[in-house]
């Protein structure tokens, strides 16, 4: 395995809120995600996990520090360029899957591809169908996403995150809204994709079982990364 860095951040600081309610949400976070690795960020609610995820996902700006994607510092780039990079290099998965309810499963997966604009309509349809087949929803392509179960919707969200073949997948409690069986299934799917296609996965989770199966576990507390442990080396393992 090579140490090909897909995404990294250095000295990230982030304040949230205004004046008296201002909170120092992130305090000098540094992190590196290599291709083919899965990183879990764990910690109590409100410790800054999601804030870190959104900054790494270029949806939010750090007050200090730098995010680097594919060896390019990106924090200072304008919205149009950041959006393009988000579209091309990053895939998001959320706890509540956040699908477009009026769109079918296939159309949901096609939305990022449309924005990227590299494929023709038919090719987009084929790729979306292939990705949905990969996540076990090949028979439900044309079903409106609101008519799918929670587990199915999350799998559509995973397929959508993979639509543009991103280098990094960022997942905010991807299994938080699923039952145990569906959680295991969704994680196994992500694990396979990361290994096979040499992507990097950073997931925020409260689920210790999932966290323990990741290559790295990063513990956060009050906006500080208090420890980063390779799999199986965590002190309380």
């Amino acid at each position: 395995m090579t140490n090909e860095v897909c995404l990294s951040c250095e000295g990230i600081e982030r304040y949230l809120g205004e004046e008296e309610e201002r909170v120092h949400a992130l305090r000098g976070i540094s992190l590196t995600l290599e291709a083919g690795t899965i990183h879990a960020v764990v910690g109590p609610s409100g410790c800054g996990k999601s804030t870190l995820l959104y900054i790494l996902g270029l949806l939010d700006h750090p007050d200090r520090g730098e995010v680097t994607i594919e060896a390019e510092a990106v924090s200072h780039l304008p919205d149009d360029v950041l959006s393009r990079k988000r579209n091309e290099l990053l895939g998001f998965i959320f706890q509540f899957h956040f699908l477009m309810e009026d769109f079918t499963a296939q159309e949901n997966v096609m939305i990022p591809m449309r924005r990227l604009g590299r494929l023709a309509e038919e090719a987009m349809r084929e790729r979306a169908a292939h990705l949905l087949d990969e996540v076990g929803l090949g028979a439900k392509l044309a079903r409106p996403s609101r008519h799918l179960s929670g587990g199915e919707q999350q799998r559509v969200a995973i397929a959508r995150a993979l639509a543009n073949d991103p280098r990094v997948i960022l997942a905010d409690e991807p299994t938080g809204n699923l039952d145990s069986a569906n959680s295991q299934r969704a994680f196994a799917l992500l694990q396979r994709i990361v290994r096979d296609e040499r992507k990097a996965l950073l997931l925020v989770t409260h689920n210790p079982e999932i966290a323990e199966r990741c290559d790295w576990i990063h513990e956060m507390q009050d906006g500080v990364l208090v420890g980063s442990h390779p799999r199986g080396t965590r002190p309380n393992d």
Binding site: E88, L90, P112, E173
Partner: protein
């Protein structure tokens, strides 16, 4: 199809009721604008056509000569050129002036007129009339008198020097029709007897209620004028350029020349004011449609906050998000304008068949309408501007929505 247009269409058709309501606002705004403009311009056009058809595009009248400067003290700040002139009634060299005038490419034809005021009597009715002594052949070519005849025949007038054509409202006032006798009182106090060869309706109240046409040579004797014409009227290929040509004729012939725009300035201003007033009133409907679209798009933005956050996380930029909502506005504006123009056109046709009895400044039995592509262009432009302004605010707001706040709401 761009990705933003694709999503805009999906958003738009998902909220069908709101979409149809917004669309209706634009459709009716555009249609009513087109229809009212066609009506007001119809009245104006009818008046202009009638005026041109009766009095020509240019009237060349009295000869003038400059006053001697050493005898004339110019008033302070005077801009009145006429104050420098002395006028002499009558045109003595009408044939020569007309011969030169016909060389101008814009001049279709011209005709001399000997004009005077007389009293007409028929049975026991009297009326003051505006006598036009005309050359029948030239006048027929220069004006619409041939098509204005509603009773009798123009040929009877041409073939009988002791006949007259009389305005329709004057004929009503005197209680006479084609074939009846009428007497005209000469300045010498003699009654000359004529036969009414025809009754003409120009459509202009002032003309129809006073005018009497007789042949020029008879008129010269009747009015006891030493000259054959008091004015020359012109028919132009492009009546809109009449003011420039009138000015040129003034300098060339040293005769007062007045274009139809100058002659009818007061009436034209009135009609223009009415037209603008209607346009402003109807524009308010389009403005209200704009408010409707503003409301609908604002509600759409509020109901699509989650979708906006999703799209932002997927890689759609602020500009893309704004574009999605601008597209919705543009689609409503474009579709509404197209349907509105079609509906407006149909309304114009419908209105033109509504019976309307107008007997005053104009003569009309139906709503006069004038369809002009400018009406459609202006209605569409107004609608698009209103929609663009109405869409911009919600679209901009949508683009500025921070996705993190929405995404965080479900992920803490």
């Amino acid at each position: 199809m761009t990705p933003t247009l694709h999503i805009a269409l999906r958003f738009l058709f998902h909220r069908k009721r709101a979409f149809i309501l917004s669309l209706c606002g634009v459709v009716f705004g555009v249609a009513i604008f087109v229809c009212t403009q066609a009506q007001t311009q119809g009245f104006a056009q009818r008046f202009i056509d009638s005026t041109l058809g009766s009095n020509g595009a240019i009237m060349l009248k009295a000869q003038f000569r400059p006053r001697a400067d050493n005898l004339f003290v110019e008033p302070k700040n005077s801009k009145v050129e006429a104050a420098h002139r002395r006028y002499f009634e009558g045109i003595t060299n009408a044939s020569e002036i007309m011969r030169i005038s016909r060389r101008f490419s814009n001049v279709v034809s011209c005709a001399p007129v000997l004009r005077g005021t007389l009293t007409a009597r028929a049975e026991f009715e009297n009326a003051t009339v505006d006598l036009f002594g005309i050359d029948p052949a030239l006048h027929l070519r220069t004006t619409d008198i041939g098509s204005q005849i509603i009773d009798g025949k123009f040929e009877d007038f041409r073939n009988n020097p002791n006949s007259v054509i009389i305005g329709s409202r004057l004929a009503e006032a005197l209680g006479i029709a084609a074939g009846d006798p009428v007497q005209l009182l000469s300045p010498g106090g003699e009654y000359w007897r004529f036969n009414v060869a025809a009754v003409a309706r120009s459509g202009v109240g002032a003309v129809d209620s006073t005018r009497v046409y007789c042949q020029a040579k008879i008129a010269q004797r009747l009015l006891r004028k030493p000259y054959p014409a008091t004015m020359i009227i012109y028919k132009l290929r492009d009546p809109e350029t009449a003011p420039e040509l009138a000015q040129h004729f003034e300098q060339l012939f040293q005769h007062e020349a007045r274009s139809w725009q100058e002659r009818e300035e007061a009436n034209l201003q009135l009609l223009l004011t009415l037209r603008l007033s209607t346009a402003i009133t109807v524009s308010l409907i389009i403005l209200l449609a704009g408010f409707g679209i503003f409301n609908v798009l604002t509600m759409t933005v509020l109901s699509k906050i989650k979708e906006i956050a999703i799209l932002r996380s997927i890689g759609y930029s602020r500009r893309d998000i704004s574009a999605i909502f601008l597209w919705q506005g543009a689609l409503i504006g474009a579709l509404g304008s197209i349907i509105g123009c079609i509906l407006g056109g149909l309304m114009v046709v419908g209105v033109s068949h509504i019976p309307l009895r107008v007997r005053g400044l104009l003569y009309a039995d139906y709503f006069p309408v004038a369809s002009d592509w400018h009406h459609y262009l202006w209605a569409t432009l107004l609608a698009l501007i209103a929609v663009a302004i109405a869409s911009w605010v919600p679209a901009h707001r949508a683009g500025q929505l921070p996705p993190v706040a929405t995404l965080r709401g479900s992920s803490v």
